[in-house]
Symmetry: C2
Subunit: 352 residues, 2 copies
Amino acid sequence: MEKINRTILSIKPLDENAMAAAKTRQDHLTKPQGSLGQLETISFQVAGITRNPRPRITHKVIFTLAGDHGVTREGISAYPSEVTGQMVQNFLRGGAAINVLARRVGARVIVADLGVASVLEHHPDLRDKKVAMGTRNMLEGPAMSQNEALRSIEAGIELVEEELKRGVDILGTGDMGIGNTTSSSAITAVITGAQVAQVTGRGTGLGEEGWRRKVRVIEKALEINRPNPKDAIDVLSKVGGFEIGGIAGLILAGANHRIPVVIDGFISSAAALIATSLCPEVKPYLIASHQSAEPGHKTILEHLGLKPLLNLDLRLGEGTGAALGIFLVEASLKILDEMATFVEAGVSEKNS
Amino acid sequence: MEKINRTILSIKPLDENAMAAAKTRQDHLTKPQGSLGQLETISFQVAGITRNPRPRITHKVIFTLAGDHGVTREGISAYPSEVTGQMVQNFLRGGAAINVLARRVGARVIVADLGVASVLEHHPDLRDKKVAMGTRNMLEGPAMSQNEALRSIEAGIELVEEELKRGVDILGTGDMGIGNTTSSSAITAVITGAQVAQVTGRGTGLGEEGWRRKVRVIEKALEINRPNPKDAIDVLSKVGGFEIGGIAGLILAGANHRIPVVIDGFISSAAALIATSLCPEVKPYLIASHQSAEPGHKTILEHLGLKPLLNLDLRLGEGTGAALGIFLVEASLKILDEMATFVEAGVSEKNS
């Protein structure tokens, strides 16, 4: 808890001076003021985050955190639990969607085991932060203990801090965990107060009957565990996942180290609910990469007041949306940094 | 006219076999089927366009076409007309937004003078396709003659064909022309049948009074010229612009040479209205990069049945949205090409 508290207490507001300086520069570049829309506002945000009126990004890192969910025993996913560990191997071999997109974007992918339910072979690129062999079934009590919940968040903080020496100018969040849309829907319902059915989707591809079962399972889990909406650690421990706690840790650490945090889809946004609930000051550090096809995602983004950059009906996770978002953030910073001003280019300004 | 007719007659439907093969491959990649949303459907479309079930993109080209508009004398733009030529110089020196984004995406930018109202100095990277020194004022009769309209479309076709030897695997459209949102709103109102006020925006930054004047100017121009909505050449000649005709030519040539055409914002989409009106078969070759902040753009995209990839409130033109769109198309093709299949990765498939 000490590491988490120390991190939370160190998070500061954005730097208004750097933001104003970035805005002044944008307004002198050879384009009508505001004509690049969100590509402009993101550049102000990143200036404020990094305290740099003309920020540049070299080291891009996507963290893909994996964990298993005891609730999969209730038949709430279209895929078997063992896929979590198999996909970790796929990440390490470079064959997954996140690898392809990260390569295109020039980001490195950090794969971490936060709580996969099988023993994973040692691999030089796999970070071992296993809290336990998967969560417990939330229909039979809390998914994890308070201590495990805290440990998962700390692990996320550690992952970022261990990467700082290699450089982290922007970070993207990502997840892998069969069953984790169930956990994310539960977290979303508790923290936003929405109805379970409204924030529950088909995950990796449930049919109608499977979807109804998933809703019932979540409703029952909330009845049994009664998570306290005002206590994010209680929510995480009762219906969360280790990878979700880990992502909340990534977010806290990113804000603490003044690194822009590009949030992936539904799972990462559920983790953002946990992180902002623990520390509302992280909110201005967040950039929502995309609007997922999962219905609960819209609820979270509205709750957090975030406008997603993309709306491509993605519902994969892994950090795939975050990778595309990182590209757009980088594009916005290159606009700010590389464009000519009206004076430099000898272009006439607006009629007054 | 002969070149245009020859081009139109050569345009064929997409290759259904290549599309089906791409879909089969996508369904075997290590992700839930359909979980990458539009990144999957675009890969099928490009497979059909290129007749290749696993298309790769090396040569990316953005065409930025410039032209001036006689109607600027009516005070319908926030910037003076001379900015068109000044911005062409800015493009050639690499200081504009399109240069920055094209560099990030790895695309080359082809700048062409379709009808700038000043004499531009010779430059090795400037394509001279000047039809005239700007269009005439559409409040005093047709903006151009029938022959000039045809010539502008032919010039766009030529621009693509001249680039083929250097390689064009994907093309983005772009525009520069003070006054060209006025022309585009007029085209949109005529071809879609929408009210002028509904499809007219603030362009580069008009105030309320300027916007009302712009609407009145367009309404009057349509009254005076009575363009025939069924005759795209008539519409282009009466209220169009040379760069808009040129972009219509780019689109026709792209479809003819089976090159995916990534449409930029409002101006490029008005050109797409002209192109699809001349030849409805080009429609499946089009990819809408973004939803512009200009209100008429939504009307066009709905009319054409296109779903934009991005919605970032861009309203700059130049091909900036197309550059971002090209990145997303490339990402979708890399997913199709580089991801591991379930069998290759040893990952379990969906529970049946």
